[in-house]
């Protein structure tokens, strides 16, 4: 294919502008975070005397250690269980084709577009009656349920394309359903499972609504919920707020940059299927 020079240069220029627009908010956060705390810096201006100390102060103020621990605990509660349950159900619906599979699948698909706001009110009373308000379980358990439609949908899409001969040979070897699942199908499903894990991690870590409604104590919330509380508390001290926001962003950014190939792949696939 011939690429005209002019086309290539327009493309490059456009990409650079687009990247600049994308990065602008991050740059603004960073520059502002270096201004003396309590001031209202004007736009993008490098401070005369960069206050690197704002970062350790924000680290203290945001209680970062507790936040990281809390978010990690919530992710560890949500992601493995969601993956296990989603994979099992996807396997039964997509590969075993259990009796009534189409109806169950439809039931799950109905939940794919559900806005969380739609059920947050009854969920609050339900969690209260279960005595789980203000605990991490209040975020973990509903999130597993809310992630089921996508997890089942995603894993079913994988299992539907697995050839039946695989199970045939296992059956001749005398494997039962669980062994068939555990020994043959789970190992083959690893690429689909790891993409799902990335998406679920991201959606858990960034979950905001459930965190602010069901848990009062920021130290028991997700990162996102904690950031909301941090804004409420330090909203008037702009440089400190910016420093705190950046700190709270750092773990996500670090994980994204390490696994970026997987992330980009998972997110593209995820939205195509979702």
């Amino acid at each position: 294919m011939t690429i005209s020079r002019r086309e290539a240069w327009t493309g490059r220029l456009l990409l650079i502008v687009l990247m600049a627009v994308t990065l602008l908010p991050f740059l603004s956060l960073f520059v502002t975070a270096l201004h003396p705390s309590g001031t209202y810096p004007a736009g993008l201006a490098w401070p005369d005397d960069p206050q690197w100390g704002n970062f350790p102060r924000a680290f203290e103020a945001a209680n970062m250690v507790a936040l990281l621990t809390s978010s990690t605990l919530i992710v560890l509660g949500v992601v493995p269980i969601s993956i296990l349950l989603g994979t099992m159900a996807g396997f039964a619906i997509g590969h075993l084709r259990v009796i009534g599979a189409r109806v169950v699948f439809l039931l799950f698909v109905l939940g794919l577009t559900l806005p969380f706001e739609g059920i947050i009110t009854p969920l609050y009373y339900q969690i209260r009656d279960m005595g789980l308000l203000n605990t991490r379980w209040a975020i973990i358990l509903p999130l597993i349920g809310l992630f089921m439609p996508f997890s089942v949908f995603w894993m079913r899409a994988h299992f539907v394309n697995m050839p039946g001969e695989l199970s045939e040979s296992a059956r001749i070897d005398g494997a039962n359903v669980w062994q068939l699942f555990r020994r043959i199908h789970v190992p083959l499903a690893m690429p689909a499972i790891s993409s799902l894990a990335i998406l679920l991690f991201l959606w858990t870590w960034n979950q905001f609504l459930l965190a602010i409604v069901l848990v009062d104590d920021p130290a028991k919330r997700t990162m996102s919920g904690a950031l909301g509380a941090f804004q409420g508390q330090w909203g008037t001290d702009i440089p400190l707020l910016c420093a705190g926001s950046l700190l709270i962003l750092t773990p996500t950014l670090a994980i994204f940059l390490i696994f970026q190939r997987h992330f980009v792949k998972a997110l593209l696939q995820g939205s195509l299927k979702g």
Partner: protein, 308 residues
């Protein structure tokens, strides 16, 4: 990477051989745990939302049956109805801008999609998808503030006259919030569309060039029709993001000034947890859930039509 049809249809292939009983009890044991979580934490609350919406209840005391009165309020009380209107206006920013601009950008950078610069761009453009929306809200509130970067840039190019606190102005708050959403979704749409374009057969373009088609003709006759499915995905994702928006608005404006940026999600939150009007909140929640489905389904049908 193969993309499958959106709402995957049941595959009508020869049923594979399975261990005995796998379609019955043994198979169902695999489904039941997922179904149980889904039923307890999603289906039951959905049913309860419908039930609550028929009652007047302050969340503590006794409740009174009021039939459809709460729905009447959703469509007659300007405060509630406006939130629905606002959500639809947000679609312009959350969907139209990212999809149209995304198409234009993807078409322009298609030829250099394999360059090193494009590789870096893929990472950068995904950042808004990875960070919490709350963080996007905080960063943009500051950018759009009266002393923020946006106003600084405007003054720089001689538009000092229009500078203002964008999120605090009755006339500009909703578009300003919409721009935050456009920023979040533009990268995702561009990359999705770009991935779709890479699957278009290059010979189509060569044939068009031989026939003397210009860039615009190419775009309209080849690119857009081939991307039907990707466009449908972008529209679905962004329309849902607009209708169900919460995080960004909660952080950036809290629905203000006045009610100018109030959206259904935030209104439900206030009604249920501040004003203790659980019935009205639930009626609005039902309307929101139905709206999302009513918007998502036709787009899916549209996409599927194109594949047949």
């Amino acid at each position: 990477m193969t993309t499958r049809p959106l709402a995957a249809r049941p595959a009508h292939r020869r049923a594979p051989a399975r261990p005995r009983g796998a379609r019955g009890l043994a198979g169902w044991l695999f489904v039941i745990p997922a179904l149980a979580f889904y039923a307890v934490f999603v289906l039951r609350p959905i049913a309860l939302t419908f039930q609550y919406s028929m009652y007047e209840w302050n969340g503590i005391g006794p409740s009174t049956w009021v039939g459809m009165a709460n729905y009447g309020r959703v469509f007659t009380d300007p405060d509630l109805f406006d939130s629905l209107i606002n959500a639809f206006q947000l679609i312009v920013f959350f969907s139209a801008i990212p999809v149209v601009l995304g198409l234009a950008i993807a078409a322009t950078i298609r030829r250099i999609a394999t360059s090193r610069l494009a590789f870096v761009a893929r990472t950068v453009l995904f950042l808004p998808q990875v960070i919490p929306l709350v963080a996007a809200g905080i960063a943009w509130s500051w950018l759009l503030a009266s002393t923020g970067v946006i106003n600084q840039l405007l003054s720089l190019i001689g538009l000092g006259g229009v500078t203002r606190a964008w999120l605090g102005d009755f006339g500009t708050a909703l578009p300003a919030v919409g721009m935050i959403g456009a920023w979040v979704l533009l990268g995702l749409c561009t990359l999705l569309l770009l991935a779709g374009m890479s699957k278009i057969d290059p010979s189509l373009y060569e044939a068009a060039r031989l026939d003397g088609a210009g860039a615009w003709r190419e775009f309209v006759s080849i690119t857009v029709p081939s991307l039907r499915q990707e466009i449908a995905v972008c529209v679905t994702v962004t329309v849902i993001a607009a209708l169900a928006s919460f995080d960004i608005i909660y952080i950036a404006t809290q629905g203000g000034p006045g009610n100018t940026t109030m959206v259904p999600g935030l209104q439900i939150f206030y009604l249920a947890f501040s004003e203790r009007e659980v019935g009205t909140a639930s009626a609005l929640a039902v309307v929101l859930m139905l709206l999302v489905i009513a918007c998502a389904l036709p787009i899916q049908w549209f996409a599927k039509d194109g594949n047949r």
